[in-house]
């Protein structure tokens, strides 16, 4: 049974809730877009593939500075390493996967998070359109991206 929009929106809510918990509710949303031609990748990306109630993927992608701020908000204030960036991204993506899995259970299969920098090693197939929700924190940008394989809905 395909997920309803309100269920799909849960992904955005979970991501925002987690980031706002870290940042003290300082995440600002910008107006979303639908992209037909290209995917949006920033410096680091955490990707989840979806099967079952929704077919496609979600990913969170952020600049190194965005992750640096996140890292510094609950860790030491030193310069962030590439490993740190991947750890922060793994934490965000893992939290999304865990929380969504708790809500939808077996109706939605969620892959293990795939973390990469710049662009994916294995190309991601561009669906007909992707939903891009930009987020800003301390003037640094991140994007929540949803790519569904089809428009099927309940």
């Amino acid at each position: 049974m395909p997920l309803h929009e309100r269920d799909i929106h849960y992904f955005v809510d979970v991501t925002l809730a987690h980031l706002n918990k870290i940042t003290g509710n300082e995440i600002a949303l910008r107006d979303p877009t639908i992209e037909f031609q290209s995917l949006v990748f920033s410096a680091y990306t955490g990707l989840l593939h979806l099967k079952g109630g929704a077919e496609g993927f979600v990913y969170f992608t952020a600049s190194q500075q965005f992750l640096q701020h996140l890292h510094n908000s609950h860790q030491s204030r030193g310069r962030i390493t590439e490993e740190d960036c991947r750890d922060v991204m793994a934490d965000i993506t893992g939290t999304i996967a865990h929380t969504v899995h708790k809500k939808f259970g077996a109706t939605l299969q969620i892959s293990e998070p795939r973390i990469f920098s710049t662009v994916p090693d294995d190309p991601i197939e561009m669906p007909p359109a992707v939903f891009v929700q930009p987020l800003v924190w301390r003037k640094e940008h991140a994007y929540f991206v949803l790519g569904l394989a089809s428009a099927e809905t309940t």
């Binding site: 929106h9 107006d31 992209e35 037909f36 995917l39 940008h141 309940t154």
Partner: protein, 230 residues
């Protein structure tokens, strides 16, 4: 009254509701005032034209059934598209595209800006909306005309079908998943901005594809107001 005012129903309305006698379209408008949406949005949602909505709103105000709902600075900025106070002085760049899949087939320069005003509904009142659970409307929504379709009006119409903006925007996304990307790219539309998109769609083929997608996904027919005046 400019259309940006936000009204909510009053305790006086709650007391008198059972005694009030109105025509069905007027009830539809009155019940649409929820303290969340602007007059323009309420009119669009109730499928009452703005010019019809104005005197009715005045009447509801005079009767004490609705009152203006003050909003906070944050709510105001959010409505205006700047979603936090700190953003008021800072321009935010669009999403950065760092990777483009090889399957792309057509160039997509940004859409041309348009001075068209926000959408105003002009269609007659219709049945109660129930998100996407109803059966598709029978009449195809395509508008065989040489009038341009305003993308912002299409987005606003679909979004207004759902009480929540975020969920409404995902409904817009689902609609556009059904629109062949090649038709959009042929019109130089590589992306749709879900707030204030300025694109005008001239291609009748694309207009029909969008109307069909709205009908299939949102189970609604596009109102005539999504088309620019001839």
């Amino acid at each position: 009254m400019t259309g940006t005012e936000i009204y909510k129903r009053t305790p006086a309305y709650e007391r008198e509701a059972r005694e009030i006698r109105l025509h069905a379209p007027q009830w539809k408008l009155l019940l649409a005032f929820d303290g969340q949406r602007s007059l323009s949005e309420v009119a669009l949602n109730a499928e009452v034209s703005f010019t019809e909505a104005l005197p009715l709103t005045r009447k509801f105000l005079d009767q004490g059934w609705i009152e203006e709902q003050p909003i906070t600075l944050d709510q105001y900025l959010k409505r205006m598209g700047a979603r936090d106070v700190s953003a008021t002085g800072a321009a935010v760049p669009p999403p950065t595209v760092l990777h483009q899949p090889e399957k792309e087939t057509a160039p997509a320069p940004p859409s041309a800006p348009s001075p068209t005003p926000p959408p105003l509904p002009a269609s007659p009142a219709a049945e109660k909306k129930d998100e996407s659970s109803a059966a598709p409307e029978k009449a195809p929504a395509a508008k065989p005309s040489n009038r341009a379709m305003r993308l912002s009006a299409v987005v606003d119409f679909i979004t207004s079908l759902v009480g929540n903006i975020g969920i409404g925007q995902l409904l817009v996304y689902r609609v556009f998943l059904r629109v062949p990307p090649e038709l959009l790219l042929a019109e130089d539309i590589a992306s749709v901005h879900l707030v204030g998109d300025t694109s005008l769609i001239q291609s009748e083929k694309l207009q029909k594809a969008i109307a069909d997608a709205v009908n299939a996904v949102a189970k609604r027919q596009l109102p005539d107001s999504v088309f620019a005046p001839a």
